[in-house]
Subunit: 377 residues, 2 copies
Amino acid sequence: MPLAASPAAAAIMTALVTAGPQSRVALARRLGLSSAAITKAARPLIDDGYLRELGATERTGPGAGRPASPLAVRPEREYFAGIKLTGDELIGVVCDLTATVRVVEHRPLRSADVEHVVGEIAAMTRDLAGWGARRLGLAVSGDVDRSSGLVRYSPFLRWHDITLGKLVASATGLTVTVENDVKALTTAEHWFGEGAGADSFALVTVGSGIGCGLVVNGRPVSGSHGVAGEIGHLGVDPAGPDCHCGSRGCVEAIAGTEPIAAAARAATGRADLSIDDAYALARAGNAGVAAVFARAGEAIGLGIAAVANLVGPARIVVSGEGLAAYDLFEPHIRAGFERQAFGAAAEIPLSIRPLPFEEWARGAAAVSIQSRLVPLA
Amino acid sequence: MPLAASPAAAAIMTALVTAGPQSRVALARRLGLSSAAITKAARPLIDDGYLRELGATERTGPGAGRPASPLAVRPEREYFAGIKLTGDELIGVVCDLTATVRVVEHRPLRSADVEHVVGEIAAMTRDLAGWGARRLGLAVSGDVDRSSGLVRYSPFLRWHDITLGKLVASATGLTVTVENDVKALTTAEHWFGEGAGADSFALVTVGSGIGCGLVVNGRPVSGSHGVAGEIGHLGVDPAGPDCHCGSRGCVEAIAGTEPIAAAARAATGRADLSIDDAYALARAGNAGVAAVFARAGEAIGLGIAAVANLVGPARIVVSGEGLAAYDLFEPHIRAGFERQAFGAAAEIPLSIRPLPFEEWARGAAAVSIQSRLVPLA
DNA sequence: ATCAATACTTGACGAAGTTAATTAATGGTC
DNA sequence: GACCATTAATTAACTTCGTCAAGTATTGAT
């Protein structure tokens, strides 16, 4: 395993993967090492095909010296598989070292039975075997212990204490990483997306639940009792609707998919209204339903402002399947955020955009890449 | 400077200072080093008087081997001064290496003029010079850049961009550290108080403002734009009172000292009611005023629950001069917290207790100790 | 051609850790 | 009471991983 050959090698790979091609001198400055150390650590990586030198010599200043020959990752040197598990489907991808998706595959799940799911995962990896991936990341919603590969509890799959990592490892022969889906997506955005280079970062997902992944001081936040990023259960309105958590006025009780549909049904008096009907009505100009989305967006904005005020991330990305109604939400999310964000927190850049669903599987692959580059993180 | 002789030496000192006396083997496990490394790094520390060996050999298990001779810090080896600046007073302490306060001194400030304040600080350090402290920590409320010793803005002192660290250093000849007061107190509690040993920790201060210091993954949270821990400006009630920040229903607009007094005045119809009068009335059973405190405590509890849900610290300490009304607040803080804390977050231990005012100065000294033990943190 | 400037490489060295063997101090066993 | 298992601490040889200082490479400007 030449990658983990030295601490410096891991640091070099990580820097190049997350920040793009750079000269040895630039790497040395970034990593706080001497350029000699970079030269030495980089050589075996070049020899092994993980890195290559770009002849591409950009113009340096006027009285220039020897031009730099930047180092760059060879993305195709190694491939990684990633699978996102939902209650009724597997979404699988193969990514290269820079987390660029090379293939996507969907596979329906007939049941959430553990053996069936493990079997389907194994079948999917056989389909993807042509890429030669030796590592596989799995993303599951719920309470997951990454270090042991244990799924403590997963609501959609109705799993309790499933040693998913071990089961899939022995079924596939791959090195398996299991991570919570929101954390995996957060990792992907932090390393390879809009959060790249940020020391702190937050990703908010909007859907049936409202979740949040956090990176602070460059490290993911896990919560000492396993709870973190529960933006959905911040209380923003004591007069708000009851929440399944036992409190009332939670962000999720106002802006979750089902509460929105319920409020839209109440506003229209139509008991059969689906969430898609609600989208359509709001877009058609139904004021009552539009107000439901406005209130929901505002609640999400307040939740995001809470993140901004408490941890002050450098960037915040908002996404999730709920943003299918992107156009209905966006201005109200921004309004709620801007009203409640305190002082300089209001200047935190907010990216609100739907992500393709494969992005979740890419998140799983990103965790696998990370586990390869940073043996212990 | 023998303390920073090696990384291991700094780690050993830090572990012993924060977690108490331990055998070399225990230190090795805790720090992830070999016991040989501990032996080597500890010797110069013993020779220099920073550490001593406790003969005190606790009973190990049944079939015991050689008894351990734990290492312990010699607290009196080095002393540290700490001064908390308020708008009208300096509070100074001298602490030993384990942050035990040895002397306290108060000194009124006639003005917030920078030269006057620096002069008074210098005079105070001369009073405390007998202890031989070579380092001084300063705690100031407001926006402070610790690395440069710059006070960017301090509301109570009405300071803008004062290079306090340099000014005091040249006036006293000491090595000076400047830190925000809440962060300093958080550091003190994290290293030497109830947060000792916790990987993540939160300190909530209740007073004219509501603040929060955060430690996540063992490191303080600063916020990329300078904002963090602004628990006072979480929005908890859209129908709540207007806040000076421009929004409404903020925790601080409900539970800050002045809003409480205002609400008590409104409840009683007495325009001259002070906050102390309000305490007295509530304790005497005035239902209207008691309800004001109940609402305030509840709002604080909601804010704390937000911290718990988002970052999940291992412990939370609540203090501040507002807790003079400890008995009026406490049950309502707990009620708000328990209602809104999600899942396992409700099990985070909450310590609600007034801290003596000298504690803020001890915080300043703690930052100074920390800067001695961890050259770069 | 020469020089200043910048990038990279090389090899000697040193800091700070490791492992493995050794010494130290204890309780239990026959 | 000799012996042994057990745990703690030390020691010495070695490894790893970096730095430093000197030298090489490649450019633009004079």
